[in-house]
Amino acid sequence: MSDRRRRIALLALLGVALAGAPAPSRAQTVDAAPPVAAAADPYAGLTSPHFEAIAAAVGRLGTEGAPQAQAVLRALSAHHLFVAEDGGLYVREGESWTDARTGAPVTSAPAGVRAVRENNRVRGALAQAMAGQALLAGDAAARRDAAARLADHPDPAMLPVVDRALATPHEAGLEAPLRRARAAMLLSPGAPATGEQAQSAAVRVLRDAGGLDARAVLARFAADETAPAEARQAAQSAIVTIDRRIRLWSLAQQVFYGLSLGSVLLLAAMGLAITFGVMGIINMAHGELVMLGAYTTYLTQKTLMAVAPGLAAFSLPLAVPAAFLVCGAAGMLIERGLIRFLYGRPLETLLATWGLSLVLQQAVRSLFGPTNVAVATPGWLAGSFQLGGLTVTLDRFAIMLFAGAVMGAVFLVLRRTALGLQMRAVTQNRRMAALMGIRTARVDALTFGLGSGVAGLAGVAVSQIDNVSPNLGQGYIIDSFLVVVFGGVGNLWGTLAAAMTLGVGGKALEPLVGAVSGKILLLVLVILFIQRHPRGMFPLRGRGVES
């Protein structure tokens, strides 16, 4: 019996295998004589249910072009291209339909239409084709992007397009990427035979260009037995050169990763450095305040989308003050309603705030549901830019700057404002401060509010790189405490140093021992460090500390 079931399973697997049976890759179809039907009608492929055929057709539209090619490709990328039962291709703009092949508007909506099928394969071909189009017809910026795209995704079928672009006069900025693209194509499978010289030259171009994509092309070429030996040799050595360059840069890269991780830790810990470090309140609900900040960001974004979609891109700048105010207010509420009754009893505070954190989590769960909420990353924060061999991701970079800014602001408040002065006075000698007429209660509330507000700011940053869910806070509370204690309680510089040390240290360990062991190792190191230096990296000195 069981054998029968086994057989069914095998059959199924077989079916699977058949479904994905090897089919000729697009590059080949382009060079080989195109399928009979397609020869007559370049659009025929698009009507096919098979991704392979669709991709092929798209490719050919990109290379060989056709009267309506551009319009059709644009329509396809916008999901506006439809196939009718009769095999007709139609573009839909709102409610009006046009015949894709001729561009002529059709009066009555075609019958039984379905959207042209898409998948990664088709999208890939589409991107190539559009790049080809842009290279010939686009504006300067579009042309440069297109050239870069073609260089990173070399496809010999595009060679004529690139050559045409090179032949026509073009601005200086375009030359390099075009050369790179051309070189990459010459070394890619299915490239026209150009002989060893040309290939070695191409290898040199790519070697000087460097980068992972160039490396990929060279690697493929070097592995290809049919290519001439010398050229492959050259490719090999080129790869070595590139790898060396990459290794050098990767050090800088690790540091960048470390610093960006450090700034996240710093942001998360800074609020705590105030409430815990300066006021000595063990606030276990700190993480939840960070979470509130993240949810405030979400709400800000949602409201903007609703009321002023145009401004959606600015939701983050708006979320910053919003989160600060919301969390600051929440903080003062907590201080007035709970913590002030517990001064001088830090451990009770710990327990009460722990209880509070449970309540806050559950409250958010009831309000927003237990699942994550989506916080969009505005366009100006998406993607990354190259700094030499260094990939700088925009969101991380922004968070670094943000962390720096917040740090600076907190310093100003503590060092330059009356409030800051009063805060330090109260924390150093409450009774004396009171005698000098400082309204300590008010100062306490404000200080805690400030710390909570900063936690909220951390929430804004975190919403860009992490889940926004009721559990968000839990993920940061332990690390935050560790940072503050490691740095030395009551010392913002210490917090900064600790955050960066943990960040860079963690990122330095990760490639060596893996993420998990790295974190464990780091924790152990911190424990040992604190046992050598019981008051952290930057201990506060003076008589007051002892008691």
Partner: protein
């Protein structure tokens, strides 16, 4: 005299624990038809509470009497649990899913070829018993020695205890470590030949837990009751003064710290026997914090309070997770806030407040300076 009342409380509570446990155990052996019969579910539950009570007792010993706020005591609890779990897993022997006499199931299906060396001897009950005490004890000794010698105190100590348990949690989550990763150790069959699923065995385990707990309570009472106990209070409240009297507070702390870790470890072992699963979740810092909260709810520095707190809070948890699945967290959170605000000395403190007599003092009356640092 110091805590006299509390200590009478200890005896009373220990007695109560024994009686209730005995009643439940007997009740579970009655036929279900009998009105006095107790569902085996309740028995295991009670056993679990008592195991937690051991943990709470351990926490109270260091927090209530030496002023060390530990946020990582669950680590010792869990380690004791794992040691016991290893033994129980080996007991399964060839009855596992793969019928492999040498390797636990989780190793078989992650294609381990042989037992890692640190599993050696875990199939002998005596070795297991030693491991239950030795491993957490050794860790506590090492950690404590380092910490107290270099005079790490206050929140610094609290935070690194938390870091310790957190690190252990991450470590045990790793499947590479050979303790079943996230799944931990489970699906135990029997202990010393007694089928763990038999009501008889369960009843027996409950009785044993009660006896061990009562024993631990009286032992700690002796520890903190006598002259040594006075020294503990002295160390808790004015550590440096004891130095100038010629005492070595670090030694005192270390002694109590290790003792406390051992109590927690035994608790963990009993826990695993009755709950039937141990996994890295037990190391979660949240668990340690909760154990502190049990003590706070019951009344810090009273021993009996720790036990009462642990049982009540967990009972509440059991009931509320069933009654109000959506809302129970509010209840729990509110409970902690309310206790700290209105019952600074916990339930025992409340009880004492009600029938307070003149000049009767407890360690809690004056705020330990040790806390603030």
């Amino acid at each position: 005299m110091t805590g006299e009342f509390a200590f009478r409380g200890v005896v009373r509570t220990a007695a109560a624990v024994l009686v209730v446990a005995a009643l439940l155990a007997l009740g579970s052996l009655l036929p279900a038809s009998n009105p006095l019969s107790v569902s085996p579910f309740v028995v295991t539950l009670a056993g679990k509470y008592l195991a937690y009570a051991m943990l709470a007792l351990a926490v109270d010993l260091v927090w209530g009497f030496v002023g060390i706020l530990t946020l990582g005591h669950a680590a010792f609890f869990a380690l004791g649990g794992y040691a016991m779990g290893m033994y129980l897993v080996r007991e399964i022997g060839a009855r596992g899913v793969y019928g492999n006499p040498d390797l636990p199931d989780f190793m078989v299906f992650l294609s381990w070829k042989s037992l890692p060396w640190y599993w050696w001897g875990s199939d002998h009950v005596l070795v297991a018993a030693v491991l239950v005490l030795a491993v957490p004890g050794a860790l506590a000794a090492l950690f404590g020695w380092l910490a107290f010698r270099s005079r790490v105190g206050g929140v610094y100590l609290s935070i690194i205890t938390q870091a310790l348990t957190y690190a252990l949690m991450l470590a045990f989550f790793q499947n590479g470590l050979g303790f079943g990763g996230n799944n931990g150790l489970t699906d135990f069959k029997d202990v010393l030949g007694f089928d763990l699923h038999q009501p008889g065995t369960r009843a027996g385990l409950l009785i044993i837990s009660a006896l061990v707990l009562a024993g631990a309570m009286l032992a700690t009472r002796a520890l903190v009751g006598g002259r040594f106990g006075r020294l503990l209070i002295a160390v808790r409240d004015a550590q440096s003064r004891t130095r100038f009297l010629g005492y070595r507070p670090d030694q005192v702390k270390l002694l109590v710290w290790v003792a406390s870790a051992l109590i927690a470890a035994v608790g963990g072992a009993l826990y695993v026997l009755q709950v039937g699963i141990i996994n890295p979740g037990e190391f979660a810092p949240a668990n340690s914090i909760e154990s502190v909260i049990w003590v706070a709810v019951g009344g810090r520095g009273t021993l009996s309070g720790a036990v009462i707190g642990a049982v009540l809070v967990n009972l509440g948890k059991t009931l509320f997770t069933a009654w109000l699945p959506e809302l129970w967290l509010y209840g729990l959170g509110a409970l902690f806030i309310a206790t700290t605000l209105f019952l600074p000395q916990g339930l025992v403190g409340l009880g004492r407040h009600i029938n307070r007599r003149r000049d009767e003092v407890t360690p809690e009356v004056t705020r330990p300076a040790g806390d603030a640092a």
